[in-house]
Symmetry: C2
Subunit: 307 residues, 2 copies
Amino acid sequence: MTQVYDRIALIGLGLIASSMYWAIKRAGLAGEVTGYARSEGTRDTARNIGLCDRVCDTAREAVEGADLVVLCVPVGAMEQVAQDIAPVLKAGATVSDVGSVKRSVISAVAPHLPDNVHFVPAHPLAGTEHSGPESGFAELYDNRWCIIVPAGGDTDPEAVTRLRSLWEGMGANVDQMDADHHDLVLAVTSHAPHLIAYTMVGVADDLRRVTDSEVIKYSAAGFRDFTRIAASDPTMWRDVFLTNKDATLEILGRFTEELFALQRAIRTGDGDHLFDYFTHTRAIRRGIIEAGQDTDAPDFGRGVPKT
Amino acid sequence: MTQVYDRIALIGLGLIASSMYWAIKRAGLAGEVTGYARSEGTRDTARNIGLCDRVCDTAREAVEGADLVVLCVPVGAMEQVAQDIAPVLKAGATVSDVGSVKRSVISAVAPHLPDNVHFVPAHPLAGTEHSGPESGFAELYDNRWCIIVPAGGDTDPEAVTRLRSLWEGMGANVDQMDADHHDLVLAVTSHAPHLIAYTMVGVADDLRRVTDSEVIKYSAAGFRDFTRIAASDPTMWRDVFLTNKDATLEILGRFTEELFALQRAIRTGDGDHLFDYFTHTRAIRRGIIEAGQDTDAPDFGRGVPKT
């Protein structure tokens, strides 16, 4: 694989950045990768596990001379980081990010950047419920989508192409769309489902007085999958909901409407309505398997649990 | 492993029964296993893939001489099957089932059974989103729970012990509880989460006009897990909701309350409320990992998707 950037700076060293580092190294996509994390403990961990070629004690030090700077901090922290690093950005450098929300990141970051850098926001649709510098792995982006969301109509095409090459080199498929559309699609496919999973797990926990530890002990498929989703990073998700408020609330409103209709079918014993609804949703699953975004293995690919 | 029953009859040959067959054979738990399915196509498939030692064309033929008869049909079909086979059940035989709801199965089945058989309902907490005779595999029950729910206080302890040995021989951990308690625990851990997943997938599908095929293309973790849950067998789930109506509606009522509180926090920008809630739900996930009911692999144990 050809080197795409001489020097890349990763600001924030959680799951996404650490997976980027291992994927960049796997394919030799950069000459040097510097890293910075706000917490000293995270920086120490990164140094201990060999995460980044050089871990710096300030964000400014990390971005100095970098051809690409990727903001991998929670959406709510992007503005402050942008303000901090703006004065030392190299002329002609590209600034990107990995935030799950794009409209508000663009509003927060763009005004602080000098005119001589390219701002090319992006969002890799990949993750696990784990967080922190030790949670990353090189394969995270393999065959996953990364959506590039140019901040304005005048974005330099060459800067976009180069960022695209980086993500493709890390294993991802790359697509491009505008910020508002991105935020709506993600509200449906990710943000609303996460809030719903968090809610259901919270309800189950309330019931623990009634059901003792049985909720955990007998966590069947269904609840078990919800708990995995609801174990995602709290800071990241708080920021997602606060910054993609309108689209998330719209989808949740539609969700509640549908849920009430199904509850009514249960209450009135309308089996046909339930059967038709469940038959229909099954077809959507088929589409996702065909799109290569999940495995169809009979055991979910999880393998046989150790006894 | 020692043989537990001379002859076992499996009525209904879907995911649960076919997995039972392979697990019984793996451990040599029965002398002969007969099988029956209502559809001729299913019986043909079973014969072609060697599912069951003998596939019979009627339920009566399959249960004749059986020491254990397991009803593996949807909950809504149990009563009719019980009525049908009652006259030919062997004296001293045990009748069991694998239904996801227990109170209504007991009410539907018990009145039809002769006094000289033992009725010992059970529910293995295991499954995948696949259905049909070809979806089974011997490992499905390994380290999963099977809950035995004796139909009345006067159930023969020896019949319970024997059924317990069978499930343990198939790899399961066995526990015992009463029907109402079972139905409440399952409403929390399985039934309500399934309805919620079905609902969210339905909402996403409605939005396809807006978002084109992007909902499928960009299905991030979150929605992707929901679609897996929402791909489960429609007949089975229709029957579950209709027969565990009260407990499911109660849990859904609590769910809606919580969801409204979180929506309000989003609307008012109450980040602390969201953060605290999400931090709390994360701990529950930890409990499930520790209980050995899911894997903690960073990639969910799914392995690297094929490109």
